[in-house]
Amino acid sequence: MVLQKEMLARQFRELSMAKETGKKVVYTFVPGNLSELIHAFGMLPVYPEINALQSGMRKKSGGFIRDAEKAGHSEDVCTYVKCDVGMLLNGNIGPTGDKLPAPDLLLLSYTGCFTFMKWFETLDRLYPGVPVAMLHTPYQENGRITREMTDYMVEQLKTEVIPKMEKVSGVKYDETRLAEILEHSAKAEDLITKIFNTTKNKPSPIDGYFAGVYYIGPINAGFRGTPDAVEYYQALYDEIMDRVEKGLGPITPEGVMEEEKFRLVVEGPPNWTSFRNFWKLFYDMGAVVVASSYTKVGGVYDYGFRHDPARPLESLAHYCMNCYTNLNLPQRIDLLAKYITDFQADGFLVNSIKSCNSFSAGQLLMMRQLEERLGVPVGFIESDLVDPRYFSYSNIKNRLDSFFQMLSQRKAIRGEMEAMPA
């Protein structure tokens, strides 16, 4: 969308001028990001994961990863980290070709992934002297958020995160200002929930994974809490509803999908290095993803969570604890089961990512449990986020071919049964 492109261009422009404008730069993560708080202090966020995925899409990640490995990083570890380290070793030139400003603060909001901590410990050494604010998000090990978990986070915000932000930005914490920002967040969250629910329509007007990753861009990458994000999601929602009224299927890079043959729920992040080819394997078969867990990595809004201006810090805490990979495995299965049922999916597919233990460890059991619980056909493919060495087109294609074949057979059998006289 034009609006999204403009927003992103503006964001990068602001970043490239940060030193002149005196704006302070905060590096932080997508899951559990505290964009609202960063805005409340007038600072600018940078998301190393997003730089990594963009480097992947622009075919730069392979070189960055190799350079990080040459500098001592193991081939076994998360490639997002290596891509980021490699980018830094190559002058920290961001996805738009501009040099990214060095951080004034490393905000280690550590949600749903242990590697985040290792990542920022690494950056701490690469940017000596830059303060690190640590926000430890407790895991929903028991499938719920308790009072004590919330208190722990709020206390960390009050005693660790906010004081460091005040010091770096030179701005005093203003809760009224934060509450105003959170109002915009809640509106954007309402809209994005409605947008992802439009896939309940048949045909689905959008792809909730391949296009979904674009839709979550603004809400996850620094615009949540801004009027721009609300405007963007309202426009997007209107556009999608227009498609629903016209009975149109999703837009693919090769135009509108004419016939929706398979409706899928996908678990796991996508591959970025061959994103287009990867997507094509689906739309060529008439497969549309009606829901995905990856689009909830920056926040699960399906059960009603919204940022709450009446309880600013508590709701920031709840937001962090509610990100998808901070849910325990039974919760993740329940959420996926809900998607499969509510969105009337024909099949469930896991894209297992070599880099990401947070997502991947346990996926095989999750898959079997969903198969047993719902009788849904399941498929499994493997790739990586940004390491091109781990994207094997032919392997993935073979597996998907068999998966789609299985789905066709199931559909045919179901069709025959439905056609039989009662």
Partner: protein, 392 residues
Amino acid sequence: MEAHINTLLSRCRELAFDLNFTAAKAWKKAVEGRFLVGHLPIYFPREIVHAAGGLPVGILGGGDIKQIIKGDAFYQSYICHMPRGVIEMALDDNLDDFDGFIFPSICDVIRNLSGIFKLLGKGRFVKYLDYPQNFDEGVGGTFYRREIQHVLDEMEAITGRALTTEALNHSIGLYNTNRRLLAEIYDIRQHFPWRLSYEHLYCLMRAGLVIPVEEHNDMLGQVLDYIRNNVGEAMDNIRVVISGAFCEQPPLGLIRSIEMAGCYVVDDDLILGSRWIQGDISSDTGDPIGAIVTAYLERSTFSSSVYDVDNPKEARLIELAQRRKADGILFAAPSFCDPALLDQPQLQKACDEAGIRYISFKFSENTGQFKVIKEQVGAFSDSIKLWEEPAL
């Protein structure tokens, strides 16, 4: 080696690698009301289970003993080996008599393994123990205290009785003794590593994870008495610290190969949990849980699982190597272990700056071939012996 020490060390080896946990199960059976709580690496305050009348039992994976048949169906090829063995044990009857399981927060694999145990309905409770990464008494401390309280609540549901201050102080005292004895053994070995091979020390430490602490203290005492004497014969070996093997354990054959390649292991992080707290935990307070919490916050050793920006682990590793007068460091990490492997560049850079020699290799708990690693370690040891002045 004297016969009784030989017998004791053989017994340790049996205990350490008995994946059926026969001794622990027999202990439970002997008296009505006893219970077993399995815990994964690295650290767990075992005192609280002991005080509640249970036995904390360390689960370190299937090593090269347990054949993996079902476990591989749970994990993709690019995930470390350790959880496969644990799943295999859970699906066979190895862990059947266990009443609860603790998964200490260390990485996402262990974290998600706790979910798998929940889904498989193992034990009467499954708890992912989220250690605070904030070390302020009022913030991280308060959170950690409540985490411990959850474990206490689970145990109370089993025993039907609350923990007393006296019982907890008593247990803290016993584990203090345990750590002190271990520290003394390490200190003696620093000067006279030939008095007790590292292989034996490893089995001795590992045995302590599956038997009552009283029994283990007795064993440690006996070994200590033995190595206080001038036993064994010094060899022309270099002194090394092993770093990175704190979770998935290298097979015993690999440990043996390192020694055979000419290394005295003078410190390590293999059974780190048993030596996690540096020094004693107060055992005479009216708030023993508070004492455990404070010790964790203020006197934990360094580890890949602990946020370290205010107390960088590379400085602590260098300090350890220098204190132990090590000639070099062996970075030995399990394949696909994000926490260990992501730390290595920093740690190695610090070694470079401090002039400490090191090598690194990866292993898996079921590695069967040690030839390459043995040659690598042998060449490292030779290069230090032949060409280098002692580094420190």
